[in-house]
């Protein structure tokens, strides 16, 4: 008996498409970096806070499967000297919007934000 792929299902091999976990990590990172006040992401002192895809590494973001389904997202960010609570709200809101736009809002769990470093406006313009 041979395993057959029904015609109604996509014939694209599984290995070609990034997993939902990686998609969520990428969109969360892109959304966070687009928020005013966020300078960059931070992979941690040992460079371990990364999501690794087959071809790329996404520094400063981790998407972890949750026991109840979906994925929790952890963002490690370098920010400017701005009020942190409003900044975190803006980042979360942008991540949720980005996930909704590609139909992944159902898979998105809590978005944890860690401020890994803060830089002054001079450092941002110099960098």
């Amino acid at each position: 008996m041979s395993a057959r792929t029904p015609a109604s299902q996509p014939t694209q091999p599984l290995s070609a498409a990034p997993s939902q976990r990686v998609q969520l990590a990428r969109l969360a990172l892109d959304a966070a970096l687009g928020v005013d006040g966020v300078v960059s992401s931070h992979a941690g002192p040992l460079g371990t806070r990364v999501t690794v895809d087959r071809k790329e590494r996404l520094p400063g973001v981790l998407a972890t499967a949750l026991a109840g389904g979906g994925y929790g997202v952890e963002l490690h960010l370098v920010t400017e000297v701005v009020p942190l609570h409003p900044l975190a709200e803006r980042v979360r809101s942008r991540v949720v919007q980005a996930a909704s736009a590609v139909g992944l809002d159902g898979a998105l769990g809590p978005v944890d934000i860690t401020i890994a470093d803060v830089v002054g406006s001079n450092e941002v313009s110099e960098g």
Partner: protein, 198 residues
Amino acid sequence: MILLLRAVARLVTLVLLVALALVGLAVAVFSIQGGDGPLSLPGLAEHVRLPELEDTAGEYLDQLEEDGPLAKASALAGAGALLAGILLLVGALAPRRERLVVFDEAESGRLSARRRTLAGIAEALAEQAGGVTEAKASVRPRSRLRSGRLRVTVSHSRSSEQSEVEERVSNALSRLVDSSGLAPRVEAKAGKRRAKVE
């Protein structure tokens, strides 16, 4: 520093476990025969030259009882071994996860910051207070047993009053303290004679 100690502690653990396994294997193999056979424990003692080692250690201990360079070198080596042991214990027992200061935790997620980052923010805020010439901050996150604490030590110009400077620094830190839930402790001391407010 802790990262280095942790790596060294892991390496030493691996080497010791391998050595222990090899010693255990040797003892097991040399327990096959009894008496004075080649695969007996006395045979193993002969192979590793235990009798000669006993003589050497005896001579060394005799020399150690007398005053001299050997006694000093041995005392130094003992102190070094003690220090190395303490450092290895620190490397082995130091917490693996970085302790973060949690600002806010809800269903939508958690907002936290690294201790060093918060200390940097606190120093920057404290240095904006009038009369402050230098600020140093340290953060201790909240744990099960203790509440979190933000300790800020500032130097001030001699023309400023200590209590006024402490109040100004406390005001400058108030938003950070309110949002982080850290208990502040501000200490001000007069700076050096030529210290100026930047």
